[in-house]
């Protein structure tokens, strides 16, 4: 089993076989995570740098644990904001890190395209851990893994992504990945949160949350960025919750078989009410566990390619 690219920059254009390989490999590692000793020697001697130019708790810890469980050496580099604000350029920083003989870079950055840029300035394997509002492929892979785990398949499922699609890297990676795997994908949110031309990607656009719940097998509910959205793209968080928030009542009225995913962190009382966030329809913490397995799979598949 091997992948067709030495990097994971996004899910756009990634062939079905590759996604299948990653999901299947993750199943093996998922089993490792249940053992008393959760460590395998697979990436012994490999050095991975987690290059985080934007704050992240869960994704970074998830990657770091995945690396440690594969016995890789890991280094964390965090820097808020831009590389150009003071002193060293991003390129120089990366060149310096590469000179210390590293094998892989996991990168998160607020500027879309930074993982692609890295492939031009280093020889390391690049894994995108989120670039701007572009892609977050490992999140989409763990979402797909979690859906497959619960529903037994992806092909033919009706999946709706709910929330601020325009500013979401999770949405785009899910759309690309799920479409490739044969799912039917919709997006639902206020019109100001739906990016221009999205229907050209072959997704349906909805503005009615009840219809979204009623007409789909899975809802992937995105986090509303409190600091950014209220007052600009939506009038208020209260109005958002009243018209787009997922509540147990809405689920019970529309579709009791629905599966709810959320990439976290949750805003309780905004996109999900607490009775949904803690209730029987969601798999939010399973997603987190699966995230480690998915990242182990990606690190393993890319790290052992050559």
């Amino acid at each position: 089993m091997s992948l067709s690219s030495k990097h994971l920059l996004g899910l756009y254009g990634v062939p079905k076989e590759d996604i299948q390989t990653i999901l299947d490999t993750a199943t093996t590692f998922r089993e490792v995570l249940e053992r008393p000793i959760k460590k395998v020697p697979t990436l012994q001697g490999k050095t991975v740098v987690n290059l985080f130019y934007e704050s992240s708790t869960r994704t970074r810890i998830s990657f770091e644990l995945a690396q440690k469980r594969l016995s890789a050496d890991t280094v964390n580099f965090s820097k808020a904001g831009s590389s150009t604000s003071k002193g060293e350029t991003f390129k120089d920083t990366v060149k310096n890190i590469e000179a210390m003989k590293i094998d892989m870079i996991v990168v998160r950055h607020s500027s879309a395209g930074v993982p692609h840029y890295l492939t031009k300035i280093t020889n390391a394997n690049i894994i995108n851990a989120g670039d701007g509002r572009h892609e977050h492929p490992t999140q989409a892979l763990l979402d797909m893994y979690s859906i497959r785990e619960k529903m037994g398949k992806l092909e033919g499922l009706k999946i709706c992504i709910v929330g601020d699609i325009a500013h979401s890297r999770v949405a785009l990676s899910n759309i690309f990945g799920l479409k490739t795997m044969g799912a039917e994908v919709s997006v639902c949110g206020p019109a100001t949160m739906i990016p221009k031309g999205i229907e050209k990607l072959g997704v349906n656009v909805l503005h009615d949350i009840d219809k979204a719940i009623a007409g789909h097998d899975v809802l992937n509910v995105l986090r509303i960025q409190l600091e950014r959205a209220a007052g600009s793209s939506i009038p208020s968080l209260r109005e958002y919750h009243n018209f787009f928030g997922i509540t147990a009542e809405r689920i019970e009225n529309n579709n009791k078989d629905i599966l709810i995913l959320h990439p976290g962190p949750i805003n309780r009382g905004v996109e999900l009410s607490s009775d949904v966030a803690d209730g029987p329809y969601q798999v939010i913490l399973d997603q987190v566990t699966n995230g480690v397995a998915i990242r182990m799979a990606v690190l393993y598949l890319l790290g052992t390619m050559n």
Binding site: S82, S83, G113, H116, G132, H134, K196, L201
Partner: protein, 428 residues
């Protein structure tokens, strides 16, 4: 000194000389134009058989980085790039540091440009520091040599300032050159549409340009002033200018070679050399621009030559500055993309490069005529060449056209008693 240009095809849209001629230039002045001037003793003869000669080309939208960023371009290196690209005159934009908002800065540029083959005409800022608050001393700037006014990089900030600028500049018959972009919609990294959605890059909608074009047209109608739309890039803006011209309003427009050659699709590479403002637009915008060039809605072609240092462009996409250089590729792109594809004739191209920009700026249009000072561009429309940024005269190399195959190239330029030919300047 006497030089003879032999067997060269003359294109002079404002004159009546046509066909293959021999042109004798004595001490920088055209002294004879005949079908054949075989037996005259001269210092040098250039056989320009198969080449064309036209009035010298003029680029009315160039960013020289002097004063302020001489590491990126100076008045002299920018002028050298202009000469190499086939241009005998350029107008330079005021977004220098300090901005061109005082006679002192104009004097500095004039001093640096003195004695060069290429004429350099500064454009003054509309407002002090281009901040959109206080009118720059426009009369003083005109007196020092400003040929137009612009806050380029941004539009004139408010309708109130624009109104005053148009009324004031009318006294001197100078246009206000507008970078049309609504400030509240600005700030994105690329054109809004399916491509920006797929790339996750922050978008700027085309309507940001259209709104300001509309505002400016209405303000021209109200004040009787004159606006030149810089780097027009949207379908709607082209149509707005077309309608304004039909109404007889004082509106003119230019387009850059990248906006008639490239589309937003290029951004998929995340190459910062495709990042400019206005951004690359869609195929339907390119089509509308070509229609606008054909029917005269778009008066001229200008490079928006914007030099940036390698370290500034070689970075994260959203953080990199906008703009590309264009002086040394624009003639080749116009010939390849417009003339050879049959969209415009050679004569139309010469009008857009040599005649219209000077008319807009009230500068004398050079003529190919006995007794006139020689201000000429000689070009070969059929020479096939590959762009090589390492050979550019410009101090900066930020071009998306590196390694592109083009058909058509400048051969020589003559102006101010000098000639540039085969990579060298010499007195004639």
């Amino acid at each position: 000194m006497k030089i003879l240009l032999k067997n060269v095809n003359v294109i002079d849209p404002s004159g009546n000389i046509e066909g293959t001629k021999d042109i004798l230039i004595e001490d920088g002045t055209i002294s004879e134009i005949e079908n054949s001037l075989g037996s005259i003793p001269v210092d040098e003869t250039f056989n320009f058989s198969g080449k064309y000669v036209s009035p010298g080309f003029y680029d009315m939208h160039v960013h020289l980085r002097e004063p302020g960023r001489e590491d990126e371009e100076t008045v002299v290196t920018g002028s050298n790039a202009a000469a190499a690209g086939g241009f005998t005159g350029i107008a330079c934009m005021p977004n220098t540091d300090p901005a061109i908002d005082s006679a002192e800065v104009i004097n500095l540029i004039n001093q640096k440009a003195a004695g060069h083959l290429v004429d350099v005409n500064p454009i003054g800022a509309v407002t002090l520091g281009r901040k959109g608050e206080t009118l720059a001393p426009m009369a003083e700037l005109v007196e020092a040599g400003a040929v137009a006014f612009s806050d380029d990089g941004v539009a004139v900030k408010t309708a109130a300032i624009l109104r005053n600028a148009l009324e004031y500049s009318q006294m001197y018959n100078k246009p206000v050159i507008e970078h049309c972009e609504d400030e509240s919609l600005a700030g994105g990294s690329m054109n809004e549409g399916i491509t920006s959605t797929m790339l996750g890059l922050p978008p700027v909608p085309s309507v940001a340009e259209d709104l300001t074009v509309m505002r400016d047209i209405l303000m021209v109608e109200y004040t009787g002033g004159r606006v030149h739309i810089a780097h027009i890039s949207t379908k709607n803006a082209v149509e707005l200018v077309r309608q304004a011209k039909k109404k007889g309003l004082n509106i003119t427009a230019e387009v850059t070679p990248h906006h008639f050659t490239l589309t937003e699709e290029q951004l998929k590479s995340f190459d910062t050399n495709f990042k400019m403002n206005p951004p690359l637009r869609s195929q339907s915008d390119v089509k509308a621009i070509i229609e606008g060039l054909k029917d005269g809605t778009i008066d001229c072609i200008a490079s928006d030559h914007a030099p940036h240092s390698p370290e500034e462009k070689d970075m994260e996409f959203t953080l990199a500055p906008n703009g590309i250089i264009g002086l040394e590729t624009q003639l080749g792109l116009a010939l390849t993309e417009l003339v050879h594809k049959g969209h415009i004739s050679l004569k139309q191209m010469v009008e857009k490069f040599a005649v219209n920009p000077r008319k807009i700026l009230n500068l004398p249009v050079p003529r190919i005529k006995k007794g006139e000072k020689a201000n000429l561009t000689i070009f070969d429309p059929d020479e096939v060449w590959t762009v090589d940024i390492s050979k550019f005269k410009s101090k900066s190399k930020n071009s998306p056209f590196d390694k592109r195959l083009l058909t058509g190239k400048s051969v020589a330029v003559i102006n101010n008693y000098k000639m540039f030919y085969k990579d060298e300047f010499f007195e004639i």
